[in-house]
């Protein structure tokens, strides 16, 4: 309970401006191990982005402004491959749809938070500090928006810093595409797919998505449309499987986890 006492003291010293509370510091320090993981990934992304023509400061701007790793990678990859903005943005945003669920789970944590602070919390919520906040809160219900914001700001700093450093170094080295740097994007997507794999029920949807995309690319459908079309095929197959299973069981479709 000691930090609750200190938080009260801190809060009385600054009523209007967002103050740095002890909970923010606690979040910022506890997130460090997870932040280092994000920073390694950020460094790799920075190198890739610089190699496809983004300046280091532009990557920094993107990391602060977007602050969503996998969507930044997908968008930069699509932009570098096709040069089309709309397709790259849609591909990146589709990967961020998980934030609907993540943010929904935070509505209780942010209920009493003032608007400006709430908007800050919304922007700095990433997978890492969300997971840490939820697990800390399960142990100690006094963990609140300050912890989320403090840990989130630390991830913002580490993510942005590492992407800029990567881009700065990436711009200084010669063209690495001959050394398989382009394949690093493919490998990153393979790893992301593994992370999103929920078990054998994903096999047919994933396979359909892969096959449909390959066919669309083969028929020279423009990059982003091939990807969205392929993903749609996978989602439809997944829905069909779910409906068929529900039909066999004679019940309403079960909720996916």
């Amino acid at each position: 309970m000691y930090h609750y006492h200190y938080k009260r003291v801190f809060d009385t010293t600054a009523s209007s401006a967002p103050a740095i509370s002890l909970d923010m510091w606690r979040g910022a320090t506890l997130i460090l191990p997870l932040g280092i993981g994000a920073a390694v990934y950020g460094f790799a992304f920075g190198v890739l982005a610089a190699q496809v023509g983004f300046p280091a400061w532009g990557i920094g701007l993107m990391s602060i402004g977007v602050f969503a790793g996998s969507s930044q990678i997908a968008a930069v990859d699509q932009f570098a491959t096709n040069g089309a903005v709309a397709g790259a943005v849609v591909a990146g945003m589709a990967l961020n749809l998980r934030y609907l669920g993540i943010m929904a789970s935070l509505s209780e944590v942010l209920r009493a938070t003032p608007l400006m602070k709430k908007l800050l919390a919304v922007h700095v919520t990433a997978d890492e500090n969300w997971a840490l906040t939820m697990s800390e809160r399960a142990r100690d219900p006094s963990v609140d928006a300050d912890f989320l914001i403090g840990s989130g700001l630390m991830v913002v700093v580490m993510w942005t810093g590492s992407t800029v450093l990567g881009a700065w170094i990436g711009a200084g080295v010669p063209d690495l595409s001959g050394y398989g740097l382009g394949f690093a994007f493919t490998a990153a997507f393979i790893a992301m797919a593994r992370g999103l794999w929920r078990g054998r029920r994903d096999l047919l949807p994933f396979a359909s998505s892969f096959a449909a995309t390959a066919v669309l690319v083969r028929f020279e459908v423009e990059g982003a449309f091939a990807i969205l079309g392929g993903a749609a095929a996978g989602v439809i197959v997944s829905g069909a499987i779910r409906l068929a299973a529900a039909g066999r069981a004679g019940t309403a479709p079960e909720r996916p986890s």
């Binding site: 749809l97 934030y99 990153a188 479709p253």
Partner: protein
């Protein structure tokens, strides 16, 4: 930066913030609709697989073999950086083996 790069960053930033904000206010309502929820949960995985497929379609044997290695590493480790590092290493190694 080019105009297109500015546009990409601006739109992705605005769109991502909009999704996060929407989630805070109506995420619960969305999650309570089974059909919508199912689509939202299925889409990211299928989309990432589609990204893999589009980068491999028409690619060299070297890329396909390296992708198989990366898939094995990902399946075993479930670790992004490790998969990228070993994947690129395999790409280079396979490239030099195919040249022999």
């Amino acid at each position: 930066m080019t105009e297109a790069q500015w546009l990409l960053i601006g739109l992705l930033a605005a769109g991502t913030f909009a999704i996060r904000l929407t989630g805070l206010f109506v995420g619960d309502a969305v999650e309570r609709r089974p059909a919508l929820r199912a689509v939202l949960h299925d889409l990211p995985g299928c989309l990432v697989v589609a990204l893999v497929a589009s980068s491999l379609a028409g690619a060299s044997l070297q890329a396909w073999l390296a992708a198989a290695v990366a898939l094995a590493v990902a399946a075993w480790s479930n670790h992004v950086i490790l998969t990228m590092a070993i994947g690129v290493g395999a790409f280079i190694a396979i490239g030099s083996l195919l040249q022999i």
